[in-house]
Symmetry: C2
Subunit: 428 residues, 2 copies
C-alpha cells in the first residue's frame, strides 16, 4: 500500500489519476466483429460464440424449460435472499417515480413534462467466475418499473452451453422478456443491429470486460445510447479515529477482490487510523480465497493522510469516487460537502456490500472520475422526459408578440410568420 502524508495540491492530479487503458488496439477487433454481425447476423453470432466461449450452440434463446429448471435448482435460501433484495431495490426505485409536471407559464400557455419508457433495452450480464445475478436485479427491476416493453438480457454461455441458474432465476423474476446465450462483443453488436434471433434495442446497460466496454462505445456510433462509460470499480473511504480499523480494512478488501485493477483509497486525517487500517488489511488479506487478485489491487492502493478535513474533502471531490464510505465522527461535514460521488455509505455499519446487493440503491455507478458528470443507473435511466405544450387562442395572443420579436431578432422570418399568421386569423 502506498502511504502519502500531506500531499501538496500539485500532486493531486497524479493521485486522482486512474490507470489509463488503451482501447486503440481493441477497437479494430470490435469494429470488425460489428461489421460481420451487421452483415451476417446470427451466423456471425454463432461463429464468435464458438470462437470466444469455445462452444457451438444451436439455439441461443433460453427456453421456458431451461428457466423452469433454473428456478427449481436455485437453493431456497438464495431465492429468499434475492427476493428480499428485490423488494428493497423495488421500493427505492419506485420512490424515484416523478409525476407529470404541468404549469401554465402564461394564461393560455400550458407546458408539461411526462416521462415515457425507452421501448427496447438491452442488459448485459458478464459470465466468468462471478455470476453477477445481483446486476440482473439492479438493471431489470428499474427497467420493469419504468415500463420498458422489451427487456433483452444477454449473457455468455459457460462451457456446457448454459447460463448460471441464479442469473436465469433473477431474470425471470424481474420481467426480462428474452434471455440470450451470447456474450462479449458479439452480444453488443447483436443488440445494436438486431439479427434474426437477437432483438435490436435502443439502449444498452451493464458492466463487462474491456472488450464489452469498447463494444458499448462503438454501439453509440450506430445510434444507441449506453448507461455510462465504464472502468474498473473503485472505493474511497474517509475515516478518522472514530472508525473501526477492521471494518474499514474489510471494505477496502471487498473492493480489491473485484480485480487487480480495482481502485482502493483511504483518506484520513489520523496517522494512527492509517497505520491500524494498514495492519488490518494485511491480516485479513491472508484469509481471502481471491487473495491473489485482491493483493494486486492492494499493492496499488493509496492511504492518504491530510492535515485537515477541508483539504480531505477537496481532494475527494477532485477524485470523484464511484463508492464513497464516510466513517467519521462529523459525518455531516462530508455528507453535505460531497459533490462528486456515485453512491455514499455513511457510518460504521454501512459496508459497501450492502449497496452492492440488497439495501435498495443501485450498484451500477460511474467510475474513473465520471461521478463529476454522470450519475449511476436509476429509474430515470430507463425513461425519457418528453415535453408537451398546448396554447389556446388567448394564449397565442398573450405570447405571440414576444415570439415575433425574438424570431425577427434572430433573423428567422418563417418562425415569426408561423405566429403572425395565427395572430392575424384571430384579428378577423
Amino acid at each position: 500500500m502506498n502511504k502519502i502524508i500531506n500531499p501538496n495540491v500539485c500532486e493531486w492530479a497524479t493521485l486522482t489519476q486512474r490507470p489509463t487503458q488503451s482501447f486503440a488496439a481493441i477497437e479494430e477487433t470490435v469494429k470488425g466483429i460489428f461489421k460481420e454481425v451487421q452483415q451476417k447476423g446470427d451466423r456471425a453470432i454463432t461463429k464468435y460464440t464458438s470462437f470466444f466461449d469455445g462452444i457451438a450452440i444451436q439455439n441461443i434463446k433460453v427456453s421456458g424449460a431451461e428457466i423452469k429448471e433454473a428456478v427449481a435448482s436455485v437453493p431456497q435460501e438464495l431465492k429468499d435472499a434475492i427476493l428480499m433484495a428485490k423488494s428493497n431495490i423495488e421500493a427505492f426505485h419506485s420512490a424515484q417515480k416523478t409525476e407529470r409536471i404541468e404549469i401554465e407559464t402564461m394564461e393560455g400557455v400550458s407546458c408539461w413534462q411526462e416521462k415515457r419508457p425507452i421501448q427496447k433495452v438491452g442488459l448485459y450480464i458478464p459470465g466468468g467466475s462471478a455470476p453477477l445475478f445481483s446486476t440482473v436485479l439492479m438493471l431489470a427491476i428499474p427497467a420493469q418499473l419504468a415500463g420498458c416493453k422489451e427487456i433483452v438480457l444477454c449473457s455468455p454461455p459457460d462451457n456446457e452451453g448454459k447460463i448460471n441458474q441464479a442469473i436465469l432465476f433473477a431474470a425471470d423474476l424481474c420481467g426480462v422478456t428474452q434471455i440470450l446465450k451470447v456474450g462479449g462483443i458479439q452480444a453488443i453488436a447483436g443488440m445494436t443491429f438486431g439479427t434474426a434471433t437477437v432483438p435490436k434495442v435502443y439502449k444498452i446497460f451493464g458492466p463487462g470486460n474491456q472488450f464489452v466496454t469498447v463494444a458499448k462505445q462503438v454501439a453509440t456510433q450506430f445510434g444507441l445510447a449506453i448507461d455510462m462509460p465504464a472502468g474498473p470499480s473503485e472505493l474511497l473511504v474517509v475515516a478518522d479515529d472514530s472508525a473501526i480499523a477492521a471494518f474499514v480494512a474489510s471494505d477496502l478488501l471487498s473492493q480489491a477482490e473485484h480485480g487487480a485493477d480495482s481502485q482502493v483509497v483511504l483518506v484520513t486525517t489520523s496517522l494512527k487510523l492509517l497505520s491500524a487500517v494498514e495492519k488490518e488489511v494485511e491480516k485479513q488479506l491472508e484469509k481471502l480465497p481471491r487473495k491473489a487478485i485482491a493483493a494486486k489491487a492492494i499493492q496499488n492502493s493509496k492511504l492518504i493522510c491530510f492535515e485537515n478535513k477541508e483539504l480531505a474533502l477537496d481532494f475527494i471531490n477532485e477524485y470523484a469516487p464511484e463508492h464513497f464510505i464516510i466513517a467519521t465522527k462529523n459525518e455531516s461535514f462530508y455528507v453535505n460537502g460531497i459533490q462528486n460521488a456515485g453512491s455514499v455509505f455513511i457510518g460504521n455499519y454501512t459496508p459497501e456490500s450492502a449497496g452492492d446487493y440488497a439495501s435498495g440503491t443501485n450498484h451500477t455507478l460511474p467510475t474513473n472520475g465520471y461521478a463529476k458528470n454522470y450519475n449511476g443507473v436509476n429509474l430515470d435511466s430507463f425513461l425519457k422526459a418528453m415535453t408537451f405544450q398546448k396554447i389556446s387562442k388567448k394564449g397565442i395572443q398573450n405570447i405571440g408578440k414576444t415570439i415575433e420579436i425574438m424570431a425577427e431578432a434572430e433573423g428567422l422570418q418563417a418562425h415569426k410568420n408561423a405566429v403572425t399568421l395565427r395572430l392575424n386569423s384571430l384579428k378577423q
Copy 2:
C-alpha cells in the same frame, strides 16, 4: 415535396432515414486541433481563431465593459421579450426540481437520493447569420437553477472581434460566469482540456455545425459528458381535416428555414389536407427572406398519407421526431400514443416557434431518431442524482444475512466478510 400515399411497412425504414453524414474526414482535423490545444493551450486557440474566424484577438475574455455596452445597446423591445421568455423558461424548469427521495427499505436501512449540480459546465453558442441568444436562455437558465458553480459560454467572434449584443445580454442576465470569444473546434477543445484562459468543464451543451458536433463527440473520449449527439433539426406534423393548411405550412417552413438539411415531414390521413398544405407551402415560401435555404429543405421534405391513424402513429413512433405537432380533431390519440418525440405541440394555435423561444419548454432536443433513447435538455441535464445510505446496528442485523448469502453465491468472499465482521462485533 415528395408525396407518398399509403406506404408499405417495408418502406418505413427508408422513409424514417435521415441523410447520413460522414464524419470520418472531419474527425482527423478535429483530433489534430484537440492535440494542439492540449499541448499549446491559448496559443493554439488564438491560431485557430485567426484561421477559422479570420480575426486576431488579443484577449478572448469578454470584459465587464463589453457586457455593459451590450446591455445598453439591445433595444428595449427585445429586452422585454427576452425577459418574458426567461420568466416562462425559469418557471417551467423550476417546476422540474425533484426533492430528496428517502425511504427506509428495512428497519434501520435508510436510503436516499439527492441531486447535486455538475460543478462546471460549458455552453456553446454558434455565431454566424442567426445569433442564437434564445439558446443562451435554454442552456444558462437551467444551469443556474441547478446551481452549477461555473457556467462558461463560448461563442465565435464576428469579423470585428465581437460577440452579438443580444447573446451577451442574455448571458449576463442568466448568470453565465465567464464569456469567451472562441468558437468551433478550438472552443470545444479548450473546454475539454482547459487553457490559461478557457476553463476546463465537465459537461458541454449546445448546438453547432458539423465540426462542433464531431468535436463534442471527440471531447467524450477525454472524459467529458455532452448534452446529446446532434444532427439537423426536424419537424413532423400530423394533421387531419380539422387542421388549418396555412398554419401547418407555416410550421413546416419555419423548420425548413433552419438549413438546407432540415427534416420536414407531414403525416396525414387526409389527401385533401395534404394537397392544401402543399399549395400553401409553395405560396408562403415565395415571401421568405431565407427562401433559398428553405426551398432546398422543402425539396427533400415528405408528405405522407396513411390509411388510418393507427398506422400513422406507428410510423411517427418509428420516425421519433425532434419536434412533433399534433393538429388533429382527436388529439389525445396521438398525445397518449406518442412514445418517441423530443417535444410535442398540440392544437392549431401551438406553433413550434412558441417552444423555440418563449413558452417555457426547452428547445435543445434529440434529433436523428435519438428521441427513442434520449430526452431534450432539462433541469436534470445539469444535475447528478447521487444515492446515500445509512445503516444502523439494528439495520445490519436485519439485512446482513441476505448480503452474506448473495455475496457467497457470487463467489465474493471479501464482500461477505465486510458484513460478517460487523455482525460478529454485535454478537459480543
